[in-house]
């Protein structure tokens, strides 16, 4: 009786060593997940980057190319400043979205709450940059693939009304940095925004 216990104990010990040792060596990978990514992202207070966006539209023979800067300040401010081909700025501050187009002499202020689809789209970027999983999950079914060095975040809209416009958003990144935002529209149009270097 005593001997059998000793064998069992040794076996358990051996098993535990076997099961623990690979885990210990890959510890960051095993614990890395959506929470860790979000935590990492949420530690960036402010960022400002250059972007190049290509829009592949069904009505056009060739893609449209836009470029400009994208900046984010925690917790609620997001600004997309398009410089080429025509200047246009979209600023989101909390619930207020301001669209300014000097070329069309246009300035529009909207409340995101009144435009759920637009709100959802804004949060795909703002909540990602803010590391706010609660907001992301309110609008999307969220899936994460890859590892900390190279990850892909898939956002599928929950609301049918939003789903009529956007079928999937894919955000690629590395560590606390976003590299690409790709928006797949339900009607077949697609846009890919590449994030380039930081601008001071």
């Amino acid at each position: 009786m005593h001997g059998r216990n000793g064998v069992l104990a040794a076996l358990l010990l051996a098993l535990s060593v076997i099961s623990v040792s690979p885990a210990r060596s890959a510890e960051p990978a095993a614990q890395w997940g959506i929470e860790r990514l979000m935590l990492q992202l949420s530690q960036v207070e402010h960022s400002q980057v250059r972007f190049v966006e290509r829009k592949y539209l069904k009505v056009l023979k060739a893609p449209l190319q836009l470029s400009g800067t994208l900046s984010y300040t925690r917790p609620g401010r997001l600004e997309k400043r398009t410089l080429k081909p025509k200047p246009e700025t979209v600023t989101v501050m909390d619930d207020k979205l301001t669209l300014e187009n000097p070329g069309r002499n246009e300035r529009r202020v909207l409340k995101l709450r009144d435009y759920p689809t637009l709100w959802g789209f804004v949060e795909s970027i703002r909540a990602t940059l803010g590391g706010d999983i609660k907001v992301l999950e309110r609008f999307y079914r969220v899936e994460l693939e890859g590892g900390p060095a190279k990850w892909q975040l898939y956002l599928a809209p929950r609301e049918p009304s939003m789903n009529e416009v956007i079928s999937l958003i894919r955000i690629d990144g590395s560590q606390a940095r976003i590299d690409t935002i790709e928006v797949q529209e339900t009607r077949g149009d697609r846009s890919v925004m590449k994030i380039l270097e930081d601008v001071p």
């Binding site: 009505v59 056009l60 023979k61 997309k80 979209v90 669209l99 529009r108 709450r113 435009y115 689809t117």
Partner: protein, 777 residues
């Protein structure tokens, strides 16, 4: 009983029965318009009609609160679904997308006749080229997400043109996809009844339907504990009528009980107490019957006033019974006091008589009611009551109280100086306040309790519902004529808007352009071959894929052939409600209303509009116009009150044949009216029409006191009995009206407070001034 006496009682009973039948079959209303002048200017008439039966008068705002937002949202949807199926309502909205989607489809289908930008130039090669370049620009903008993917169907962007007109028109915030108050505690709905706002019975039914639908929907949605709030002109009318009925009933009863208790103490006889109420009841019945016969229906306010008749009519019997000494009979007493009683009654009748001819049906009703009531009450006291009094009855309390009362009276003259000071102070106070004495806000006429008015304001703000503002009213002989005029006025307003004189405006022609304008837009669209050719030329060199705009050519051709949009087409959408609010047929023809926003300069606006015929296009500041209307009304009522006062003085002069005696009667009354007005103002009240009517009543009631106190009065053979009878009358009046002062209906409490104060002061002042020389006391 002798046979003439029996016949008199028989006639009286017959009249009471006849009146009761008329009263039972009477119609009762609470139509505010009854208190507006009957012959106003065309714009005022338009306003009054709008208040009575316009689309705005048929709106009911609904709020649901008391549960978390998601539950309120579900409940709002369930309630809307139920009300939509209900035949009482022509329109139900809670902001849910489903409703907007139907409207959106309507707008999209009719974009080519609705868009103000449609001209022949727009569909030329150059025009389309410009549009396509703009579209290309828009495609790169995030704004394209807002406008949706209409490009292939609508490259010239007409849908955007149509929608942009509706932007900035305001609207409630949304949560859970439906309308919510800004703080998220209240889900909001708007419904429109089929019945007009002044049809209170129909409004009452509609309200009951809403409550029933809510009661049924709440447990279904597991939202027990949710509260329903309803407001709107119809709700006000229903609640006011119910409130006045309830208050008038409750406080009349309470007042009667209180007065009865006092009289029971005085009389020590239930039978005599009952007899005292006989003239009051007869008078009230006769008053309502007379109004019902003369006007066809009885206004709630008049009915409420019935409660106040107690105040004066009860006095007649008190004078009779209290003045009857142990050694005399009621008949001999009557012979003695009848001239005074009759003069007192005549004084009141003269006071109210002025109102009879005021030209405001509401005031005329009050006048007729009071006159009929008083004449009948005094007649019953004179000819019926003596027959019913038990043989040998007299009031003992009077004899007991008399000596003490006389002692007080003999000292009353010492208060003459303080009284003079008080009157001077009151006059100075009134003069100093000038016109701010009056509450010229029409809402002070609103018979609904203040609590309801506050809820209404709050929900209107939440909904961004248009309250009365500045608007341009356009008149025409037919729907098409008024639409065409409105289009011309809109063009002027658009130019003024570009100059920054106003921030924006709404027009029925945004939703329903005139047939002429629609036809012109249809003709601006070229035929299919030309349009295809222009499109090809325009797209040359642009990155659009070939064949992208096939749908555009097809839909533009369909729009060209389609019959013009009519108001019937719009009625089937949510936009129909909007149109109804802005376009209406009235007695004087068709009216279009163009509400303006953010007017920065009224004068420049007026100047800009002056190129239009003023009889067709008029600028209207609703709030100011309504207040002017009310101020005019109040001024006229004041004029008639003054006229009544003059008539009273003339009457007294003619009857008493002495300026001095007339002065003795009038001076205490004038002092009482002035000081009462002063006290009301000092307590923060601003006077409205009801206070004015109440002050007239003070004169009516008070004149009896001063007449009985007056030296040459033949009824004052027994000063002790006279003094006690006046005291009892006063006690009962103050009690009856004092109770009314606690009513929730503003008009009843205004009348109650004013008359109780005024009547009390009349007596005190009469006593002070009467005792001018001590030997008279």
């Amino acid at each position: 009983m002798k046979s003439p006496a029996r016949r008199r009682v028989g006639i009286w009973l017959g009249c009471v029965l006849a009146c009761a039948i008329i009263v039972a079959r009477s119609q009762y209303g609470a139509d505010l318009a009854a208190f507006l002048p009957s012959s106003p200017s065309p714009t005022q008439r338009f306003l009054v009609d709008e208040l009575r039966e316009g689309a705005v008068s048929r709106l009911i705002l609904i709020g649901i609160e008391g549960r978390p937002p998601d539950e309120l949202g579900a409940l709002s949807r369930a309630l809307a679904a139920r009300l939509e199926k209900n035949e009482h309502f022509s329109y139900v909205a809670n902001g849910a997308q489903e409703g907007w989607r139907a409207d959106g489809e309507f707008l999209l289908r009719n974009r080519y006749v609705l868009s103000p930008a449609v001209t022949a130039e727009r569909f030329s090669a150059a025009g389309i080229r410009r549009a396509l370049e703009q579209q290309l620009d828009l495609l790169s903008s995030p704004a394209s997400m807002l406008t949706g993917n209409l490009l292939p169907r609508d490259p010239t962007g007409e849908m955007l043109q149509v929608i942009e007109r509706f932007q900035g028109q305001g609207g409630p915030g949304k949560r859970e996809g439906i309308w919510f108050s800004a703080d998220g505690t209240r889900a909001l709905l708007v419904v429109q009844t089929r019945a007009a706002g002044f049809d209170i019975d129909a409004q009452e039914q509609a309200l009951a339907q809403i409550r029933a639908a809510f009661e049924a929907a709440a447990p279904e949605q597991h939202a027990a504990g949710a509260r329903l709030l309803v407001t709107g002109p119809g709700v006000f009318a229903v609640e006011s009528r119910a409130g006045i009925k309830r208050d008038a009933m409750r406080f009349s009863l309470l007042g009667t009980l209180l007065v009865s208790a006092i009289l029971l103490f005085v009389y020590r006889s239930l039978r005599v107490l009952a007899l005292t109420l006989v003239p009051v009841a007869s008078g009230a019945l006769a008053g309502i019957a007379a109004v019902s016969l003369a006007f066809g229906s009885v206004h709630g306010v008049t009915l409420g006033f019935g409660a106040t008749l107690i105040g004066e009519a009860v006095d007649y019997a008190i004078y009779l019974f209290t003045n009857t000494a142990p050694d005399s009979t009621p008949k001999t007493t009557l012979q003695r006091i009848w001239p005074t009683l009759r003069l007192g009654m005549a004084t009141s009748v003269f006071g109210f008589g002025a109102m009879l001819f005021s030209g405001f049906s509401g005031l005329s009703q009050l006048g007729l009611f009071s006159i009929a009531g008083l004449v009948v009450a005094v007649s019953v006291t004179r000819w019926v009551l003596p027959e019913l009094v038990p043989q040998g009855y007299h009031v003992r309390t009077a004899a007991a109280l008399g000596p003490a009362l006389m002692r007080w009276l003999s000292h009353a003259h010492r208060l003459r100086i303080p009284l003079l000071v008080l009157v001077i102070a009151a006059v100075a106070w009134l003069a100093g306040r000038g016109s701010t004495v009056w509450d010229d806000d029409l809402s002070s006429l609103n018979p609904a309790p203040l609590r309801m008015q506050r809820v209404d304001q709050q929900m209107r703000a939440d909904l961004g519902a248009p309250d009365v503002g500045v608007l341009v009213v356009v008149r025409g002989d037919s729907e098409q004529a008024v639409l065409e005029s409105a289009e011309r006025a809109s063009a002027t307003l658009a130019a003024l808007q570009a100059e920054g004189i106003l921030a924006g405006f709404d027009s029925p022609t945004f939703y329903l352009p005139s047939a002429g304008a629609q036809r012109a837009r249809q003709q601006a669209i070229p035929d299919a071959a030309t349009l295809t050719r222009n499109l090809a030329a325009a797209a040359d060199g642009l990155p659009f894929r070939a064949g992208t705009f096939a749908a555009f050519v097809e839909e533009a051709q369909a729009a060209k052939r389609r019959a013009p949009v009519t108001s019937q087409d719009l009625a089937r959408t949510g936009l129909g409600l909007k149109l109804q609010a802005l376009l209406a047929q009235r007695r004087d023809g068709w009216f279009a209303m163009l509400p303006l926003r953010g007017v920065s300069d009224m004068r420049l606006l007026q100047a800009g509009l002056s190129k239009h015929d003023r009889s067709q296009v008029a600028l209207l500041d609703m709030k100011r116009e309504l207040d002017v209307l009310y101020r005019g009304y109040r001024l006229r009522a004041l004029g008639f009150a003054v006229l009544g006062a003059v008539a009273i003085v003339v009457l007294l002069m003619l009857t008493l044949r002495s300026a001095k005696r007339s002065w003795d009667v009038v001076a205490p009354l004038a002092a009482a009216v002035l000081v009462t007005a002063g006290i009301l103002l000092a307590t923060g009240t601003r006077l409205n029409i009801f206070h004015l009517v109440a002050l007239l009543l003070v004169v009516g009631v008070g004149s009896n006191y001063t007449l009985f106190f007056e030296r040459g009065n033949p009824g004052a053979a027994d000063p002790q009995r006279t003094a006690t009878s006046v005291l009892f009358c006063n006690l009962s009046t103050v009690a009856g009206f004092g109770v009314l002062g606690f009513a929730a209906t503003p008009l009843l409490s205004a009348i109650g407070t004013t008359v109780a104060t005024g009547a009390f002061l009349s007596l005190v002042f009469a006593a002070i001034l009467k005792a001018r020389s001590p030997q008279q006391g």
